[in-house]
Symmetry: C2
Subunit: 356 residues, 2 copies
């Protein structure tokens, strides 16, 4: 354990609540400790008299909540003697795996389906030095190969099946309880693979059990309509949504998400792409926070719930913004609110363009 | 002042050291409180037996250190009764201004030279709802118009000439002193407009004066070679460097940067674009941190200084990484370390591609 005074990541901060020991080599980029921002402009905009907080997970070192799980998964991999990590991912998981692999001094392998050609999303993992391997097959096959390889070589699989991921991710709930002095009344969160709603609920349950909070928040999970497997009660073979980070048709933590919903008196519902985009733009223009489109599913869910009066006035509400909008510059450009006005350099023309 | 328990931005944390009062409306996105990451891999890689720390300012809400100054500038603008803010900027300043303008409920105007067409860099400000006005003139003319307008209308200029910017930015030095228990021995920092080196030095001086530290760090500022006005002792009419965030030929805080250098026994030197790119890639692959290319000028400066033994072994060294690499996806793709290997879905082919 370090003797330095400053914040050094969630394992050092919450080690008594995590499956680590003094022998665990802590691989950290000082993840966690993310801003919880009071969103009074947003509350006013949607006409809800409540305390709304946005937890901006885009401030994590690789720009998404995945860092919380990856610090645990990679630290445990190192403790267990692995000399490499592997995952199937084309998005935030690959970025987080590659960053923590680099920090750990371990090789990182990322398997992707060959048809996948959007270099932008992969460039982050590549910069961190990951070995990217495109296989002639689909995502499910890539994941199967990852599992096979991790069983037969000293290479640790860090996809969401890795149990330490959820252990790290539950720290987000601890931070919220510490910041607010108790659990909130409602916890809105995007649902893709359903690992994050599972992790937050685990964190809330564990701290309720030791009286660090007085109640569980209602867990309000929102899938994208085109990938709403849990809502529809069936696997979606070809999930479609612009919110790529939650474009998942067969959530790995499906039952656990339903358990969180049922035990907390919450819901798992869906929002349309239009509702996601509306929320994504509203968060930026009212609160000054640019998140990934998928992140906005939490706020879109709040807006939807507010319309049906499913959220009580005067409540404390936390919405998780899972990732940084800078990860998706294409959508930022596409949905940018304003056009660029052109004018001469004459001051009067400029004032006219400013409409003042 | 808030009664909540959690971190709520640098004005609330450091208000006694800032020109604010209880009447100042605090406009915050919980900026500051950024990770200070121990970089042992990097130290080993460059062969320096010292404690190196990277301060990752890319974790700020809009992805750069500019947020520290903007929370001050916009809070003071609001206090003084402005109903809008204005700046000339095509980069990080426009993003920060627009975000804090949105949070404050104030209009934000961004003037840019008409020839400027890289929408990517502006999309962030546009998402936050800024009014972008492209004038038929160069950057200097845009800045002149901004100054004119701010003198004659209740619109506050938030370019670096705004004195509150440096007040907010000095908080980075406070955080470093708190984290390390004292000032470091060396403080490496990119130099563009020279406001940030000025601000950090101000912070270090102020806390030395009240005995919160025992010494000043040597201020080690590094310009890009193609924009090295201070090093060359002359204004550069057409500055050129891939590190766009420091592509400035006539630094606004020129004399103050020289003062910081002289009083601290530091240097202001330059690094080439090749050296910047080498450092940028090294930071990502050894430490798992993706910064803006301009940010890497600090580490490039450390590498250069280490080659000439200008840095003592056993020292404590802080390098400021000023911005988030996700802001510059084009360079991330261009310099990504690895190619994608293609293979069949056969496990043996995959293992061969993995080279294990």
């Amino acid at each position: 354990m370090s003797t330095d005074k400053h914040y050094q990541g969630l394992i050092n901060k919450y080690r008594e609540y995590l499956p680590v020991s003094d022998k665990t080599p802590v691989v950290t980029l000082n993840e966690g400790n993310t801003p919880l921002i009071k969103a009074d402009n947003l509350a006013k905009k949607i006409g809800l008299d409540a305390e709304i907080y946005l937890k901006f997970e885009g401030s994590n070192p690789t720009g998404s909540f995945k860092d919380r799980g990856m610090t645990m998964a990679v630290s445990k991999a190192k403790e267990e003697g692995s000399n490499a990590i592997i995952c199937a991912s084309t998005g935030n998981t690959s970025a987080a795996a590659a960053a923590y692999g680099a920090k750990a001094g371990m090789k990182t392998f990322v398997l992707i389906p060959d048809g996948y050609i959007a270099l932008g999303k992969l460039s982050q993992a590549m910069m961190y030095g990951a070995n990217i391997i495109a296989i002639n097959g689909n995502f499910d096959e890539a994941l199967e190969r990852v599992i096979d390889i991790s069983k037969n070589y000293p290479i640790t699989m860090v996809n969401s099946l890795n149990p330490y991921r959820i252990e790290g991710q539950k720290s987000g709930a601890f931070e919220i309880i510490e910041a607010l002095g108790d659990a909130p009344d409602y916890h809105f969160i995007p649902v893709g693979n359903a690992g994050n709603i599972t992790a937050y609920f685990k964190g809330y349950e564990e701290w309720l059990a030791i009286n660090k909070s007085t109640h569980l928040p209602k867990m309000m999970g929102f899938e994208a309509e085109g990938a709403a497997a849990i809502v529809r009660g069936e696997r979606i073979m070809h999930p479609e949504t612009l919110a790529t980070a939650i474009r998942i048709g067969n959530p790995a933590s499906w039952e656990k998400a339903e358990r969180a919903r049922d035990l907390s008196g919450g819901v798992i519902d869906s929002v349309t792409d239009d509702e996601i985009v509306e929320a994504y733009k509203m968060i930026a223009s009212t609160e000054g926070i640019l998140c990934e489109p998928a992140s906005a599913a939490s706020v879109a869910g709040l807006i939807k719930s507010n319309k049906t009066k499913a959220v009580k006035e005067g409540s404390k509400i936390v919405c998780i913004l899972t990732g940084n909008g800078l990860k998706d510059p294409d959508n930022a450009i596409k949905y940018a609110l304003a056009d660029v006005k052109k004018t001469s350099a004459d001051i009067n023309d400029i004032l006219r363009a400013m409409n003042i």
